[in-house]
Symmetry: C2
């Protein structure tokens, strides 16, 4: 297996590069002062330096459980498993289902595609429509796989957001076949209009719901989590323990301290939403002005703008753009069969200044 | 698969328990003041909160490479992969070798045994002698598996330390069959007499050498590493990336800051060695006094005393001891076939006070 193109791109970035490639949060918004203060407070205590529980420190699991309860989704700390980023959550669950088949969106998160391959999971892709997955095709596929991987909120890469109807229909199908949904929600808090209702809340015993602090606080913490029934969590702990015993205690304690002030966390998240919405609007304006042949749907949240040209091979285009120090991800990366020529692009808008957004899009416009 | 008995025991410990079970470092020796100071210094910088490289931050890899160079083992940062504890190092390598066969010591580290099972690796156990693995049987097994997992320094669970001759013989066999050695060294720095020479230094392209800061600094950091040829490291990065993208950046940056003062780190490690040697001597004295029928070899380093009774089923004994709030690990846990009755015990001596050591051993003596 080859390394992911996006990770390779990320590692080739230098100071002069304008990158619309990765899913990087805006560095300027990291709450460094607050996190430093929290660290000073907790790093005094000797006991935080010891080995900890495989499922994560109890206080942190309780706080995450409370977030679910606040939105009406009954959850307690036994339903939570802390993971080293939600990437690890995906890996643990995939290891649990190794050699099985899975229904997923077409296109989908390429990190997940790589994890499925690594764990010998056969992937059945189902087309994404504007309001979510194609329901008829989904049911046909799910009837066989009994396992699905979906990103219903501001999907990666397409930013598609599932309608209320689609969410209900998916939940109904999962129940009908008594299967399992893996609902991946790294972007759920990055909404511009309203927070969507999790599909998992309708099927609490037939779902893994994945969350992360990477997009709201800091990816460097590497703290994500899985919400599932106690029985499913217990099965996963064996795998979690084998993979790394437990996630960084230092990260967990600092984060736990930060979350004690939930009003402040909400204020911080709102600041990110405002900043990203502003960036997104500006990005769209520049696309319309300098790349009018690029057709896209305006996102309702998240970190990406996805769209397509009529006839441009975007994999060839990115190679040219890289020479001009501008990066984006060609759409072919998000399909299980990457060989097919593809005319789509995913742009990330969260980690570039407005000046660079304009400059980067203008540079691309000169290459087509 | 069931959860590891040791982890389950660890999670059942309360304040009144005297535990000789886990491999827990002495909490009192964690350098909390220094680590807190390092955190205050690095957590100011916004850039440390961003996503990082999958193989780990460069400065930290350089410092680890320098440690190898200092002992005459040529290494640079491209030979190092930072992992979420050396537990994850084991998982990544095992995933890389999934479905293969491996030669390992009998008994061996139970975390490794669980990882091999999880990755469908067939285990071929070879007896441990007082000076290391039985060389004739090792060669016979390695000729077939071409892959070995050994813990030559203060082995877990037996505290066995390989002689110079055994190290040379193992290296020769690995070379002869052009196979691979996984050399696990979490305890190497915890020597009471002298530092041993790594087998990997004789076979730099045919080995994975695993190290960790869990025993010298803090397990809560969850920072370990793999040293291997650049080619082997590059193959592992794909798996590392899929498992958690990268290890906690917060942990890595704090640790990197701490290691800038290597004289201080060495002084700290010496303090740990002195403390553990003192505890070990006291533990042995109590064993000789209160449990004279328990036969063991005095360790030259590490965290464990291993030995056996003539005719006592230690799995039954630990169940009785648990009721009296004293814990240890019965030897059967360290064999691939745990069902066999076993008369062996692993005692950890690093995380109990002298008072508790005496009290715990006396309690056990009353149960036999």
């Amino acid at each position: 297996m080859k390394r992911s193109f996006v990770r390779e791109i990320l590692e080739s970035i230098d100071n002069e590069t304008i990158s619309f490639a990765g899913g990087l949060p805006n560095e300027k918004l990291f709450p460094s002062k607050e996190l430093k203060k929290c660290a000073s407070k907790v790093l005094k205590n000797k006991e935080i330096y010891q080995y900890g529980l495989s499922n994560g420190i109890k206080e942190l699991r309780q706080k995450i459980a409370k977030m679910y309860c606040n939105s009406g989704f009954k959850t307690n700390e036994e339903n939570i498993l802390i993971t080293t980023g939600s990437q690890q959550a995906m890996f643990i669950i995939s290891k649990y289902f190794e050699n099985k088949s899975i229904t997923l969106e077409k296109p989908s998160y390429l990190g997940a595609i790589n994890i499925f391959k690594l764990n010998h999971i056969k992937m059945k892709e189902v087309d994404l429509k504007k309001d979510g997955i194609d329901i008829k095709k989904f049911e046909k596929s799910f009837a066989k796989t009994k396992l699905a991987y979906l990103i219903p909120d501001f999907q990666n890469p397409t930013s598609t957001t599932y309608s209320k109807t689609k969410r209900d229909e998916v939940a109904k199908i999962i129940k009908k076949y008594d299967g399992i949904l893996i609902e991946d929600s790294p972007y759920s808090e990055l909404y511009f209009e309203k927070k969507e209702t999790l599909i998992s809340s309708q099927i609490p015993n037939n779902s893994f719901h994945l969350g992360s602090f990477s997009k709201t606080l800091s990816p460097s913490l590497r703290i994500g989590w899985i919400r599932a029934s106690k029985e499913l969590i217990d099965s996963l702990i064996i795998i979690k323990e084998s993979i790394d015993l437990h996630s960084s205690g230092i990260s967990q304690y600092i984060l736990n301290e930060y979350l004690k002030d939930d009003a402040n966390f909400e204020k911080h998240t709102q600041k990110i939403r405002d900043d990203y919405q502003d960036k997104m609007e500006y990005f769209c304006k520049c696309l319309d002005k300098y790349l009018p042949t690029f057709k896209y749907t305006k996102p309702k949240g998240g970190m990406f703008i996805y769209g397509s040209f009529k006839k441009i091979d975007t994999f060839e285009l990115v190679k040219k753009a890289m020479k001009e120090k501008v990066l984006f991800v060609p759409g072919n990366q998000f399909y299980t069969n990457k060989e097919k020529i593809n005319n789509e692009i995913r742009f990330n808008y969260t980690n570039s200044s407005k000046k660079d957004i304009k400059k980067g899009i203008k540079t691309i416009s000169k290459l087509i």
